[in-house]
């Protein structure tokens, strides 16, 4: 068995605020294997973006980060900036949510890709520009020779995100972190951009951490899924485990909230009742308990651990895995 490319152990992130400390991530642990696509799914405020920012060292100084994130034998948490700069953009690259704001408006797309290349490579300007053009071609930008000289505002939304992907691919990173890469795009463009991401990942052979709240995106791209709730992993498993052998009430709730094309008109979507918990004041016991249809006395006691389901890598944070599985089997989803 190969060693994981990224191994996160017991990662916690706490923000200090006037109303008391806010723990956005509570003891996250997960591995990403080389070439694997791990999706991190959850509602707003579940800590999925904070996790990736912590790994990149991009959190503001007010955040307290503890735990460990080993990347390719190097510790990222608490690493000095000089070392981080060598890794950022070269070994780990990021695709941001909104390509309009993530591209610098006063530089051409080409010069921004060229910068990404030359920051980590000794390469002549001419060679770097050629490489930038080649990258734009790879992500499906038509007439890249001319478009490489255009400014971000002269690109459409989908083209901008393609350019962001090209920039992230520039140094053939070992790990891509995509933070809601399709959320800011039109629905019609989303599918195309996902294809481009899949292609980028296939071409570079990079592993990917895909942060999203869109289970459709997950289904199309991921090998494995971490479902997050209240700053912790609630269910973790292969994509089929999550979609077909669901073992957590929260995941079940998420799946019940997606419209299905083949459903009858009489089949209603079942939203998860209530709202995500206040991270400053988590409920006692299981944080999902107040919204959970399976909750019993035992859920009030202490928060359940992430427990193995059927022995494999599939794990769920729930006392009622069996009941969930039963309900899963009976539902039409």
């Amino acid at each position: 068995m190969t060693a994981p490319l990224l191994s996160v152990k017991d990662l916690s992130v706490t923000f200090r605020s006037d109303d008391g400390d806010l723990t956005a991530v509570r003891g996250m642990s997960f591995d990403v294997m080389p070439g694997e696509v791990l999706a991190v799914v959850g509602e707003s405020g579940s800590g999925k973006s904070v996790t990736s920012l912590a790994i990149m060292g991009l959190l503001p100084r007010s955040a307290r980060v503890s735990g460990s994130a080993m990347f390719d034998g190097r510790e990222l948490i608490g690493a000095d900036l000089k070392q981080l700069r060598k890794i950022r953009g070269k070994d780990i690259a990021m695709i941001f949510q909104d390509p309009m704001t993530a591209l610098n408006p006063v530089f051409t797309i080409g010069s921004q890709i060229v910068e990404a290349i030359t920051l980590h490579n000794d390469m002549s300007d001419k060679a770097a520009w050629e490489r930038a053009t080649e990258l734009l071609n790879l992500v499906g930008i038509p007439d890249p020779k001319r478009r490489v000289k255009l400014y971000p505002h002269e690109y459409s939304g989908g083209m901008r995100q393609r350019a962001m992907i090209a920039m992230a691919m520039a140094n053939e990173p070992k790990l891509l972190i995509a933070d809601e890469p399709t959320t800011a795009l039109d629905v019609t463009i989303q599918a195309q951009v996902l294809q481009v991401i899949r292609k980028a990942q296939a071409v570079t052979g990079a592993a990917m951490v895909l942060i999203t709240h869109d289970l459709g995106v997950v289904a199309g791209l991921a090998d494995r899924v971490n479902v997050m709730y209240a700053g912790a992993v609630f269910e973790s498993g292969d994509i089929d485990d999550i979609f077909y052998r669901t073992a957590n009430p929260y995941t079940l709730g998420l799946l019940g909230s997606i419209p299905i094309l083949t459903a009858r008109v009489s089949d209603k979507l079942t939203p998860i009742p209530g709202a995500p918990p206040n991270l400053r004041r988590l409920p006692e016991g299981c944080p999902f308990r107040p919204r959970c249809v399976f909750a019993t006395e035992v859920c009030h006691g202490s928060e359940p651990d992430l427990m193995a389901v059927n022995g494999g890598r599939h794990r769920s944070r729930c006392y009622h895995i069996d009941k969930v599985a039963e309900a899963r089997a009976g539902s039409t989803v």
Binding site: K86, R88, P105, G140, D143, R147, H153, M159, M164, Q195
Partner: protein, 311 residues
Amino acid sequence: MTDLGSRQQLEMAIEAEAAALEAEGLDIEARSMRRQTWDRFRKHPVAVVSLFLLLALTTAFWVGPWLSPYTYDQVLAGLPNEGPSLSHPFGTDQIGRDLMVRVFTGGQISMTIAIVVALLTTFIGTVIGAVAGFFGGWVDNVLSALTNLFLIVPGLLVLLVVAIKWGGGVYSTAVILALLAWPVIARVVRGLFIQFKEQEFVQAAIAAGAKPGRIMFRHIIPNTFGPIIVNATLAVGAAIVIESTLSFLGLGVRPPTPSLGNIIQDYRGAIDSDPTKVLLPGLFVVLITLCANFLGDALRDALDPTSRRGH
């Protein structure tokens, strides 16, 4: 997961979008940055006129005295207080010096001061504002306190006191004016940096492995060029006016070296009998100030690549 079918699908999807984009006519001619800037600038006729007027004035100020048969401190015996004539288009002053060469040399000196002031204030203001805004925390506290200190100082009073001790020279006057004017630009730049450092493209630059210096000067500063240049051109206008005021009060450039301000001062008593001799240098002060302001406004537009006016 990358089976053959989905690969083909994806190639097709990409080609389809490519064709759609081509059809949509998104092929804006890739123009050079300089060309686009000029195209946007041209849309402001007043600014174009201002630019040419400023260039004409500058040329006149520098070339005129050199072509003139007289020098600015040459006293022509027996010709005081002459009216305009062919050999002396602006006339002569009270002690018989050619007024045209004096006004042009004065314009040259006033303009030199204004440009030095604009460059110095922009430089000091940008560096202090950038560092304060970018690093924040105690660095910002210290620099902002310093900026505010300079802002609340009653400028004219300090000028009066300082000018008595160090004033009189062209460059010392410029430096004194610059020391009083930089806080305005520093505040503007600090605000811009605070705004821009939170932008995602700065996060993206950090995520790409860029160093703080690079992020400040390569990624953020170019985004602030517009406001900085507008403020610099406004500073040119303001400096011309303040220099004239100071020289008028006898605290700026000291005679016999002429400046637009001290020529006005020479003729303040003759405003009734010989108004043209006060109005001429005054007119140049107004012209330069106006042109600088119009120019600044147009530049703000022209230097913003997201502005659509050029298309």
